[in-house]
Symmetry: C2
Subunit: 293 residues, 2 copies
């Protein structure tokens, strides 16, 4: 079985791993995200002499994942110092003459759950992370969704909860989904971090109200066969039944499919790959790179 | 070149046509939608002895377009008398032993514009119709989007315009997109049909506000390379510049792509296939059926 390289390129830390096509991770290492020169030197050094036959990169963004585009392979307009326009695929390619697949971290995670996790056996799925931001990736017909660029589903518009006084913290849209439902909105709205709120705090009903609206729109637009919700905020497992109930209420019987009307607890689920979702996502991208040659 | 059969199955009328793989329509006929027995007898009679090598059906819905599903090929829970659970693909297959492709009317129209129209040469697009209802179909990576079922993008949630007093007319969701932006909402809100409102009437600014919100969500979720807007309401061409401006305002520079920031008038456009969009869509489905064998 081939040896694959996986890079989960985050804004705070890089996680690198060696794994196999069956999703097994053999070795992993992580280091803080410094300048591209420093960080990439550590990445290259880690993979040197490991014999990887393909590399997958799931990256923080925005990125250009569109093959054939003049800026393909780059992190594009990030405010993160030094990384704007950095050509991560070009840099890796100059050190390793193997196929490389490059996508957003959430697209990687979606592909990972689709390949080895909660969405295995389906041909479409949606992966949503609710943490310091909100992001999502989707598989449709077995392929990750791309077009003009990559999706940015965390910034869709939602209706304000009638009792929500918090104005939202998205620098672009104020109270878009990310602005009112990402982790920082919980601490800004309630004065304490989400992890410090009790499971019966009204914060979770409000959070579920926003996330259920987003799911309604994602379902009506993409019709995914499985929805996986991860990230720090979704570790509050009491959110799942709240989201299930709110979503059914919002859809109001419009989508008459058993997955939603009868088996919603099996339809919208936590990640099966757990905290390895990011690295396994990059591994799934590497597997894809290997298959594409 | 092969001879193809196309059926635009509408709730009010059926349009049938004979065409070729290059999108040419050689012959077309239409008749009112009566009972399945009556209407399908006319359909079968039209195609008899025409030598069609494949048939495409773009249908009103909801339908089951998922191959392998026990109810594949049927119109499912329509309130239209006699048509609920009618097996349109099974009926056609019993008369014509040729490949049949069956999808929603809007998925057909999306495929038609992608194959021969405004989205030709791209590998993703979105087709939206705003008429008696709001519906949309999407092509991603060259394939129509399906999953659990077909998309129902017309029913996504939007924020209410602050000056809109109309409660919306969707029987399921009240003021979802279709409830506040489809043709009937214009006449219910303003007291006269949309076609009777002058191009500078405030109705159009409100309409653009709702449609731009929907486009923002579609773009953030699907990232289509081209957006085609058709249907009766979109014949009010003054809507296009209003939608372009409102969408840029809502996105607020977040998606930094020239298609949106600089060439938005070429990005969101009317259908190129015009009033033939529906029939050409069914023809594109027939072409797909032929290719799949």
């Amino acid at each position: 079985m081939s040896i694959l390289g996986a890079i989960e390129a985050g804004g705070t830390k890089f996680v690198c791993g060696i794994g196999k096509e069956d999703g097994t991770v053999l070795e992993r290492v992580s280091f803080p995200t410094a300048t591209p020169e420093e960080t990439m030197a550590q990445v290259v050094s880690f993979f040197q002499n490991k014999g990887v036959e393909a590399i997958g990169v799931g990256s923080f963004g925005p990125i250009d994942p569109v093959k054939g585009s003049p800026t393909y392979g780059r992190i594009t307009t990030t405010p993160k110092p030094h990384w704007s326009n950095f050509d991560i695929v070009g840099h890796l390619g100059s050190h390793f003459q193997v196929p490389i697949e490059f996508d957003t971290d959430v697209n990687g995670a979606a592909l990972g759950e689709y390949t080895w996790g909660a969405a295995k056996g389906f041909d479409s799925c949606l992966y949503i992370t609710v943490g310091t931001g909100v992001g999502a990736g989707a598989v449709v017909g077995g392929e990750l969704v791309h077009g003009l660029s990559h999706p940015e589903m965390g910034h869709i518009l939602v209706r304000r909860h009638p009792e929500d006084k918090f104005e939202g913290f998205c620098p672009y849209h104020g109270d878009c989904l990310e602005g009112v439902a990402a982790g920082p909105s919980l601490s800004k709205r309630w004065g304490v971090p989400g992890a410090d709120l009790t499971p019966d705090h009204p914060a979770w009903e409000m959070e579920a109200y926003y996330l259920a609206q987003a799911l309604m729109n994602y379902i009506l637009i993409l019709s995914p066969q499985k929805i996986v919700m991860g990230g720090g905020v979704m570790k509050q497992l009491q959110l799942f039944p709240l989201i299930h109930a709110k979503l059914q209420e919002l859809l109001n019987g419009y989508v008459q499919l058993p997955a939603i009307s009868e088996q919603i607890a099996d339809y919208i689920v936590p990640p099966q790959l757990g905290d390895n979702a990011g690295l396994c996502g990059a591994l799934a991208l590497a597997k894809k790179a290997l298959a594409a040659g």
